[in-house]
Symmetry: C2
Subunit: 202 residues, 2 copies
Amino acid sequence: MQLSPSLTQLIEALRCQPGIGPKSAQRIAFHLLERDRQGGKQLGQALTKAMTVVGHCQSCRTFTEQAQCDICASTKRQDSGLLCVVESPTDVLAIEQTGQYQGVYFVLMGHLSPIDGIGPKEIGLDILENKLQQGGINEVILATNPSVEGETTAHFIAELCHKYQVNASRIAHGIPVGGELDLVDGMTLMHAFTGRRTVSQL
Amino acid sequence: MQLSPSLTQLIEALRCQPGIGPKSAQRIAFHLLERDRQGGKQLGQALTKAMTVVGHCQSCRTFTEQAQCDICASTKRQDSGLLCVVESPTDVLAIEQTGQYQGVYFVLMGHLSPIDGIGPKEIGLDILENKLQQGGINEVILATNPSVEGETTAHFIAELCHKYQVNASRIAHGIPVGGELDLVDGMTLMHAFTGRRTVSQL
Ligand SMILES: [Zn+2]
Ligand SMILES: [Zn+2]
């Protein structure tokens, strides 16, 4: 027995999403058809709309529907002199949730990966270079991921900062707060040792 | 920081789906925006279309885009004289995947639940009664779930069958093939004992 074509198509389209397996796709499709057609239509419209109207901030490259995102539009943020470089808009969300950071961001939308044809231009480093050249930035905080590509990208941008005489710092990697030392991977443990700080000195 | 309104709306709409949590909803929305806008639009269209065109088979109540589903449209199936009653279209899929059943179905789209206002009419038993009255059915196989509601519903339909002099049978419940006896719940184990079959008799 074959399902109706529209239903098959819907299940297939759901199945392609990260974290949704075949069983889950089927469950969602049947749930919507059986109990929430209005919700299904709204989700359909929300998808179509978001894919169409959400673009990138011309200043920091994060997702926004306007020319500039709310953070870049804030003069208080701009005046901080702090610019934090991250790989993805989700990193911006995570940092904003701490409520501690008061500067602006620059979102690479990826990291350097020459093997995949992703060079400096593909992650917007020409735009970042313009920013560094224009001045007004006291410190660039490199918050790319602690992966090989993230480290390479951070290193590359650090050299760019050096070229324009702007301070650059790398966020600390180590044991997560509340984490257990023996459950942490070797790379993190190594970072934790390298990044150790003096707490008492004779 | 707030996300752009369309993005927030999309994440909210995704989060309402079964099996999708807040993190997962965010991951899907950002994945589509970053890497697969075309796929996002297609999913949006597939949703809108399915919610609009998928209706119920006038004969068995399962999902279909036509007046009658493929199974009900098959004369070979209709001529089998077998009608299997299930709670949901996913049950039809599961049984069809075994490739063993050659009859037609009747999909209740739920089960009797007086407390929720779901009586015989809400699960289409008036339509089923018409079928029983019209004749041509040799056996009704009751394949509702082995839950309290499923058993109650099966019992109710069995009495309907009795009224119209149609044979009714209940599918067997027991230890799943490959399952381990000591891992099975008590209710299933009880069913397995009640439904035991003689394999050797002196
Ligand atoms: Zn921005
Ligand atoms: Zn049908």
